[in-house]
C-alpha cells in the first residue's frame, strides 16, 4: 500500500504502458514515433522500480532509476544521430524503405 493505492495498480499501469510501448515499437513505421515508444517502455520500467522501492523502503530501486534515465538520454542522442544520417541518405524516415540488405 503506497498512499492508499495498492501495489497492484502500479503493476497494472506499468504493464499497460509497457505493452503500449512494445506494440508501438512493433507496429509503427515512423522512426521518431519508434524512439518515443522505446522511451515509453523505459519509463514504464522506471515507474515500476520506483513503486517497489517505495513499497519496500529500499532506495536502491530509485538509484537504479537514475541509471536508467542517464542511459536513456545517451541512447536518445545516439538514436537521433542515426535518424539524421538515415534522413540524409533516403530523404525519409519510413523504416520500411530501409531494405538494402534484403535477400
Amino acid at each position: 500500500m503506497i498512499n492508499g493505492i495498492s501495489i497492484n495498480m502500479y503493476l497494472l499501469l506499468s504493464t499497460v504502458i509497457f505493452i503500449i510501448g512494445a506494440i508501438g515499437v512493433m507496429a509503427r513505421r515512423n522512426t521518431i514515433i519508434l524512439f518515443m515508444c522505446i522511451e515509453l517502455m523505459l519509463n514504464a520500467v522506471n515507474l515500476l522500480l520506483v513503486a517497489f522501492s517505495t513499497l519496500h523502503n529500499d532506495s536502491s530501486g530509485q538509484v537504479f532509476v537514475f541509471f536508467i534515465m542517464a542511459v536513456a538520454a545517451a541512447e536518445v542522442a545516439v538514436g537521433l544521430a542515426i535518424l539524421t544520417m538515415i534522413y540524409r541518405n533516403i530523404k525519409s524516415i519510413d523504416t520500411d524503405l530501409l531494405g538494402n540488405l534484403k535477400n
Binding site: 512494445a22 509503427r28 519508434l34 523504416t95 520500411d96 530501409l98 531494405g99 534484403k102 535477400n103
Partner: protein, 629 residues
C-alpha cells in the same frame, strides 16, 4: 651350415633389390650375371645344407630367424624347417632356377625390359624358397601369395598387350579363389590346435575330431587346386603361356605349380587320417589328368600343348597323393621338373629359331636345322612318355602301381591319361621336327640354332631327365629307392605296398608296352600317313571341335560366373551406388539448401520485422521461464 639356411632366400632377395633399384643403370650383362649368380649362390648353400642333412641323424631341424608375432598367447616365430622334404625342393628350385636364369640371359637378350625380368625372377625365387622353407603355415602362405604375385607380374611382362594383361589377371584371380580355401584351412587349424607351426601341429594332429580333420584337409586342397591348376581352377594355366617362355618353364612347370603338391605332402598327416579327403584328391587328380590330356591332343600351339601336359601331369601327382603315395608324388615332381622345364626351354628355342612362330602347323623338318634343340626335346619327349630307362618311366610307374593297389578303376584312367600323354607329345615332336617345312620363306631363312646360353641348360636338363630315374629305383628290382627312404621321416603314417612282385612286373610291362604301342601308332599317323592337323576349325568334326575349344569351359565360366557377377556389379552401380548412396550424399546437400532458403526470409531488411521478432523472442523466453518453474 643348416644354421645358415636363411642365406638361401637372402641371396635372391639381394639380387631382387639390386636389379630393382639399379637395373636400368647397369648393363644387361651385369644385370643378368647378378641375378644368375644369386641363384647359383643359393644353390651352392642348398647343396651344402642337403649334404649336411643327409649325414645327420636329426632329420627335423628348426632354425629361428627372428621373432615375428609375439603378443600374448599368439606366438608365430619366423622359423625355417630344414628337413628331407624342404631340402629336396630347395635343390629343385635353386638348381632349375639357375639353369633357367642362364637360359633367360640368352632368350631375353633383345628385350628392353631385361633387368625388370630378372628382378621379377629373383623375387619369385625368393618367395618360392620362403614357401618351402617355412616352419609354419603363415610363412608358407606368404610365399604362396608372393609367387602368385610374381606369376602375375611375369605373365603380364609384355604389359603393352591387353590380352597378356587379361591372362595375368585371370591367373591371379583364380589363384585367389583357391587361396580363400587355403586361408580358411589355416584358420581352422589355428582354431583347432592353437598353433600353426608345422612341428607342433603335426605332433598333435590326432587331437581333433575326424570331421574337423577332413574339413582342414579339403580346405587346404582347395588352395592346392588353385595354385596347381586342377579342375575346376585350371583354366588360367594355358592362358599363362602369354608370358615369356622361361617364365612358363620355371613357374608354370617346375616350381610354382608344384607348391600345391608340396603343401599336401607337408600336411600329409591330415590326408592320411581322412579317407574322404584323400579320395577327393585322387579323383580330382585323375579326372584333371584325363581331361587336360584330351584337350592337349587337339591343340596346335606348341606352348599350349605343353601347358595342358603340365595340368595333366599335375593331376597324376595329385592322384599319387590321394592314394597315399607321397614320396612317389615328390619323385614325379622332381622328374617332371627336369623334363618339363627341358621341354618348355626347348620350345622356347624352337620359337626363337622360328622368329616368334608358335603354331606347329607352320613348323616341320626342323631336326636338321636345330640339332641340339631337337635331340634334347626328343629326350624330354621320351622321358615324359614313360619309356625305360628315362626318368619319367620310374616315377610314373610308381604312381600307377600305388594307384592300382588302391583302385583298379583309377589305375585304368591313369593309364589312359599316360597313353594320351605319349600320343600328344610325340605328335608335337613329329609335327615340329619331321616332315617338310610348312612355314614361310623368311622363317626358313631365319632358322638357326640358339646361342650357348640357351643350349647348355637344355643339355644339362636332358642329362637329368635321363638319369633322374636313379633317384627312385623300384624296390621289387631289389634296388635302392632313394626318394622313398629320404622322405620316410616326413610321412607320418606310411602305407606300405602289399602288391606281389608278379603284379608289379605286370603293371610295369603294361605301362611300358602301352606307351610303345601308342608311340608306334603316332608314328604311323604322323610320319607314315602324314596326317596334318586341320588348318581351319571348320574342317573338324563336331566332337573334335568340342575338344579343340577346350570343352568350352572358359565360355561356361563366363556365362555362369562372370556374367552374373557383372550383372550384380551393374545393379549395385546403377541403383545402390548412383541412386541410393549418391542420393544420401546429395540429399544432405539439398536439405541444407532447403533449410537455407526458408530461413533466408528472416533476413529481409525490414526493421519493423526485426523489432517484432526481438519483442516476440523476449516474450517467449519469459513465458518459458515461467513454464519451466
Amino acid at each position: 651350415m643348416i644354421k645358415l639356411v636363411a642365406l638361401i632366400p637372402l641371396f635372391p632377395l639381394i639380387g631382387f633389390i639390386i636389379n630393382g633399384f639399379f637395373g636400368k643403370k647397369i648393363s644387361k650383362g651385369l644385370s643378368g650375371t647378378i641375378a644368375s649368380l644369386s641363384i647359383l649362390a643359393s644353390f651352392v648353400v642348398s647343396v651344402l645344407v642337403f649334404m649336411e642333412l643327409q649325414h645327420s641323424a636329426q632329420k627335423e631341424n628348426v632354425v629361428n630367424v627372428f621373432s615375428w608375432f609375439n603378443s600374448g598367447t599368439l606366438k608365430i616365430p619366423f622359423e625355417f624347417l630344414v628337413d628331407p622334404l624342404s631340402t629336396v625342393f630347395l635343390l629343385i628350385i635353386t638348381g632349375i632356377g639357375f639353369l633357367i636364369h642362364v637360359y633367360s640371359v640368352g632368350y631375353m637378350h633383345d628385350d628392353e625390359g631385361f633387368s625388370r625380368f630378372f628382378t621379377y625372377l629373383n623375387l619369385f625365387v625368393f618367395f618360392m624358397l620362403l614357401l618351402v622353407l617355412g616352419n609354419n603355415y603363415l610363412i608358407t602362405f606368404v610365399g604362396w601369395e608372393g609367387v602368385g604375385l610374381c606369376s602375375y607380374l611375369l605373365i603380364g611382362f609384355w604389359f603393352k598387350n591387353t590380352a597378356y594383361n587379361d591372362a595375368a589377371k585371370k591367373a591371379f584371380i583364380m589363384n585367389r579363389i583357391g587361396d580363400l580355401g587355403f586361408l580358411l584351412g589355416i584358420i581352422l587349424i589355428f582354431v583347432t590346435y592353437g598353433t600353426i607351426s608345422y612341428t607342433e601341429v603335426f605332433s598333435n594332429a590326432s587331437n581333433a575330431g575326424s570331421s574337423t580333420i577332413t574339413a582342414i584337409a579339403l580346405l587346404l586342397f582347395i588352395g592346392a587346386m588353385g595354385k596347381s591348376a586342377q579342375l575346376p581352377l585350371y583354366t588360367w594355366l594355358p592362358d599363362a603361356m602369354a608370358g615369356p617362355t622361361p617364365v612358363s618353364a620355371l613357374i608354370h612347370a617346375a616350381t610354382m605349380v608344384t607348391a600345391g603338391i608340396f603343401m599336401v605332402v607337408r600336411s600329409n598327416v591330415f590326408y592320411s587320417m581322412s579317407a574322404v579327403a584323400s579320395e577327393t584328391v585322387a579323383v580330382v587328380g585323375v579326372i584333371t589328368a584325363l581331361f587336360a590330356a584330351t584337350i592337349g591332343v587337339f591343340q596346335t600351339d606348341i606352348k599350349k600343348i605343353l601347358a595342358y601336359s603340365t595340368v595333366s601331369q599335375l593331376g597324376l601327382m595329385f592322384l599319387a597323393l590321394g592314394v597315399g603315395a607321397y614320396s612317389s608324388a615328390v619323385f614325379h615332381v622332381t622328374t617332371h621338373a627336369f623334363f618339363k622345364a627341358l621341354l618348355f626351354l626347348g620350345a622356347g628355342s624352337v620359337i626363337h629359331a622360328m622368329g616368334g612362330e608358335q603354331d606347329i602347323r607352320k613348323m616341320g623338318g626342323l631336326k636338321g636345322k636345330i640339332k641340339i634343340t631337337y635331340v634334347t626335346m626328343l629326350i624330354g619327349t621320351i622321358a615324359i612318355s614313360g619309356i625305360f630307362p628315362f626318368s619319367g618311366f620310374f616315377s610314373k610307374d610308381e604312381i600307377l602301381a600305388h594307384t592300382y593297389e588302391h583302385s583298379p578303376l583309377l589305375w585304368m584312367l591313369g593309364m589312359f591319361a599316360s597313353m594320351l600323354t605319349a600320343f600328344y607329345m610325340f605328335r608335337l615332336l613329329f609335327l615340329t621336327f619331321f616332315g617338310k617345312f610348312r612355314g614361310t620363306h623368311e622363317q626358313e631363312h631365319h632358322l638357326h640354332e640358339s646361342p650357348a646360353s640357351m643350349t647348355v641348360p637344355l643339355i644339362v636338363l636332358a642329362i637329368l631327365s635321363v638319369a633322374g630315374g636313379l633317384l627312385g629305383l623300384p624296390e621289387f628290382w631289389h634296388m635302392p629307392n632313394w626318394m622313398h627312404h629320404n622322405l620316410e621321416s616326413v610321412i607320418k603314417r606310411p602305407v606300405y605296398s602289399t602288391l606281389s612282385h608278379e603284379t608289379e612286373w605286370t603293371l610295369m610291362a603294361l605301362a611300358f608296352t602301352g606307351a610303345l604301342a601308342v608311340i608306334y601308332f603316332t608314328y604311323l599317323m604322323f610320319m607314315k600317313y602324314r596326317v596334318q592337323p586341320a588348318e581351319k576349325e571348320e574342317q573338324l568334326r563336331p566332337w573334335q571341335r568340342l575338344i579343340y575349344n577346350k570343352y568350352y569351359v572358359d565360355e561356361l565360366y563366363d556365362a555362369v560366373i562372370r556374367r552374373p557377377i557383372d550383372g550384380i556389379s551393374r545393379f549395385f552401380y546403377k541403383f545402390v551406388d548412383t541412386q541410393f548412396i549418391d542420393g544420401i550424399v546429395n540429399g544432405v546437400g539439398a536439405t541444407v539448401r532447403v533449410i537455407g532458403t526458408s530461413v533466408r526470409y528472416l533476413q529481409n531488411g525490414n526493421i519493423g520485422f526485426y523489432l517484432m521478432s526481438m519483442v516476440l523472442g523476449v516474450v517467449f523466453i519469459v513465458l518459458l521461464t515461467f513454464l519451466i518453474k
